[in-house]
Symmetry: C2
């Protein structure tokens, strides 16, 4: 039953492919596709083509119009906070731009998240944060970069979740992406700076002490470093 003429492809793969193409600019805003063309191209039935389109449509990448077809939407209407769109942008030609925007978002959210975490953290979370800060220091000073980043990600995720704001928590994956991407984008020294280690410590202690103001202050230090790295 293999289709020899066309690379037969699963349902998700189609929206995945099209999503990447649109975000990548392969189809300009206003460009028109048709279900028929998708059926041809991917060798699938109308049902599957429509399913894929539905996904893209609900992320705002296109909309379908009778008698016209599938109209690609301008970037300003994309659901740019959705994990799928973020992933597509990070895989696009403008990955760097996306990365910078994500970093700016992270910077914005994390100072507030630190303060929130200080106000809301549980006892267990407080201990975990202190532990992670200590781990980061140890790994950072012995230059075990991979393990360091893992701990760093866990630290930030925990902090974002401890604040009790689900929208902040939802950014944990984004932050993880940004943190592990920093090395590729030359935004990270091979050896974590002592100031950064101190600041992580400070944040953890402030959160444990339930001191939002202090937590914010230390997080500002971290974030300032990232900002200046961004401006190079």
């Amino acid at each position: 039953m293999a289709n020899s003429a066309v690379a037969r492809v699963g349902r998700d793969a189609i929206s995945e492919t099209l999503g990447r193409e649109i975000v990548d600019g392969a189809h300009r805003s206003g460009a028109v596709l048709t279900l028929e063309s998708l059926q041809q191209r991917f060798g699938v039935s109308r049902t599957v083509a429509r399913d894929s389109v539905k996904v893209l449509e609900s992320h705002g990448l296109l909309y379908s119009k009778r008698r016209i077809g599938l109209v690609v939407t301008a970037a300003k209407h994309w659901d740019v906070m959705s994990p799928s769109v973020i992933a597509w942008r990070l895989a696009s030609a403008d990955a760097r731009g996306a990365f910078i925007e994500l970093t700016q978002l992270r910077i914005a959210v994390e100072t507030e998240a630190a303060a929130l975490a200080a106000a809301r953290r549980t006892e267990v979370q407080a201990h975990q944060m202190l532990d992670l800060a200590a781990t980061m220091r140890r790994l950072g000073e012995s230059e075990q970069l991979t393990e360091f980043i893992t701990a760093d990600i866990a630290f930030h995720r925990l902090m974002l979740e401890a604040g009790g704001n689900s929208m902040f928590a939802a950014l944990a994956d984004v932050v993880a992406e940004v943190l592990s991407g920093r090395t590729q984008h030359g935004l990270m020294p091979t050896r974590p700076m002592p100031e950064a280690l101190d600041a992580h410590d400070g944040v953890a202690r402030a959160i444990a002490d339930q001191d939002p103001r202090e937590a914010r202050r230390y997080m500002e230090v971290l974030v300032d470093e990232v900002r200046s790295a961004l401006e190079e």
Copy 2:
């Protein structure tokens, strides 16, 4: 061809209804629906039922599993930043909780956005911001609350867009929602405080002056007010 037994309902209305129900907790995490049950309930064909499900699926509210059906996802997996989900949450029983989270997000993003706008604004945007700040003062002092809020929304939207970060710009609608919702949630005095007017002025001037540090400082003033209102 009207279906008399069941209230026949359009395609979008179904995902809308189900989305609200799930977000509202009417279907717990792990609950299972079937396409068949949706067809029955809404009096639609499989095609339409599947379309609706696809939308919910791409926002992470459920996933479909063979031999099982449509499984409602835990809240932590929802695409909580997507405009649809935000709207559903704001229409749910926990609207207040959603509103608070959105406000926290707004607070987080806007300080950073002010600084970004100062760095990136065009000449035209600088003038518009100054104008809007002046308009807000006039309307605020004459207690024209409705018009004031309109100007307020325009001000914040412009600022968010001026920074050039598409993720910040995407929050403009959310911020608009929060700003106009403040009155309903008792987070806003009937007469804008003079300090708030001054701060808006300050932000506008700093952005016009391309002074990120100052823009951030004034925005902090605004945001501090909102924070304290939130803590009551």
